[in-house]
Amino acid sequence: MVHNAYLLIDFGSTYTKLTLVDIENEEIVATSKAITTVESNIMIGFEESFAMLNYDKSKYQIIKKLACSSAAGGLKMVTIGLVPELTAEAAKRAALGAGARVLKTYSYEISSAEVQEINNMSVDILLLSGGTNGGNKKTIIANAEIIAKNFKNIPIIVAGNKCANDQIKVIFDKAKLNYIMTENVMPTLNEINVIPVREKIREVFMQNIIKSKGMDVAENFIDDILMPTPAAVLKASEVLSRGTDKVDGIGDIIVVDIGGATTDVHSIAEGNPTKPGINLKGLQEPIAKRTVEGDLGMRYSALALLEASGEKLISTYYPYEEIVEACKYRHDFINFVPETNNDIAIDEVLAKICTKLAMNRHVGYVEIAYTPIGDVYNQYGKDLLEVKYLIGTGGVIIHSDNPKDILLEGKFSSQEPTLLKPKIPHICVDKYYILSAMGLLAYDLPDKAFRIMKKYIIDKLED
């Protein structure tokens, strides 16, 4: 009997990874990877990877091929807002949630020096926001004028004060810009609205970016390149956590993804205070939140990691001098694969530091204010103390013999009681490296994607 199967493709920055899924039995049939070849022709790497995909061709019929991509530098975005802590931050969070690499965030009116800077960055999409609905429109309109004058070839998404949209439309139409408008990313003060922007970013990615990155050759063979890879991981996390129309999710989760250049953390949780009497302060957080740490990575960012962590922290894990040497080496040879016990141990230490610092920056914190009526607690960001699952993915975790030790660094610590990290999470590992593939599958068949993730990631708990 022939089974229907989906071929899910991740054109990663280093590897083109394939996952073949039997959608009738809800099983992973085979996976493979080969070096991504975006400079010459992206299909060469794909063909090579496909040739290595070890499965019985008489048993499976591929009925659909879906892809995500972070090749050619990923989806590079610049975001513009008004106040740094408000619309500028909201726009940045929306772009991160769409799987973008946010190169820089600007606030207030952009200066000519900043225009120059943006021109030098090769930006894929520019996100323009500013003002609550009915609020400030002077700045967003001024920025629209500057954009119309200077960035004629960058696709633009407008997600600001709705009262400014008509005027912006006139400016952009006159300059013949490629733009779309969507709902305000911060419609009222401190209330965030990221989902419409996320969806528009994905649309622009599909329409414009794939072509400009030389990936349109793949489109003859593949049904759709749906989204940037990090967006696929976030989508998978959302489906696993929140479930679908038909099945219940597993509840709040955190996914830590350690790569060569960055460490991504995704949390799916409301993050409201778990203790009484705490005031929530600052900009609201999206339920599906992604943060990216550009200075925490195993290879390309190894030197930045050294700087971010410092001697005191590193020395608690390993002799400092050895780590310094190891980081220099890893930074210079980004394709290095550890073989000796020493090198494996050092990679584990680096992964622990990535997990610890990335989690510290992702989660919310509590601050004590001393007032005449006693201590008062303010919470900024998400309270993730009660999150049930902490899931690890990325090469170093998947190939490690002690993934649990690495991930436990992301746990709550009584030494830093104000950081709201999960207290007693179940530790899970994405051992088959399927999260991004499941994000793609979830677009078509969410119920199946949910059950496969549950089977391959959650039900294989090590403890």
Binding site: G131, L189, P372
Partner: protein, 138 residues
């Protein structure tokens, strides 16, 4: 609705939430667009909210006696942030003890507030004043 926006909140380490809710209700009823940043608000919170919402006025509440310390420098920061002509009111128990309110009012005007209110003044008075200051017809 008169389409004027007012940012309200309780400044400093002050957690008195009841008056804040009453002011929110009363201003909304009077037709204003109210942006309430709540208790424990810093000067920066007031300013950022006023910029994004293009507010016409900021009403600062303080009930715990440290109002004068908390309010110092707010006008200067507003000027710096481009809110040069924004109207600033302050009210509550803005100083400690029984001081002559004439002097207190003088001090707050020196700090750059357009109006300062003594303890016990009703919000209706503030509403009448703001309508006057913003040229809103009855």
């Amino acid at each position: 609705m008169n389409s004027k926006t007012i940012v309200i909140g309780v400044i400093g380490a002050d957690v008195h939430a009841v008056g804040n809710k009453i002011i929110d209700y009363a201003l909304t009823q009077a037709g204003f667009k109210v942006v309430n940043i709540g208790v424990l608000s810093t000067q920066e919170d007031f300013i950022n909210a006023a910029i994004e919402t293009n507010a016409d006025a900021i009403f600062v509440s303080s009930l715990y006696g440290h109002g004068e310390l908390d309010c110092q420098g707010l006008r200067e920061k507003c000027d710096e942030a481009g809110l040069e002509n924004i109207i600033l009111y302050v009210g509550g128990n803005i100083v400690v003890g029984k001081q002559d309110f004439k002097e207190v009012e003088e001090r707050f005007k020196k700090l750059g507030f357009n109006r300062a209110y003594a303890p016990g003044v009703k919000i209706e008075t503030g509403i009448e004043d703001i309508k006057l200051d913003l040229n809103i017809d009855k």
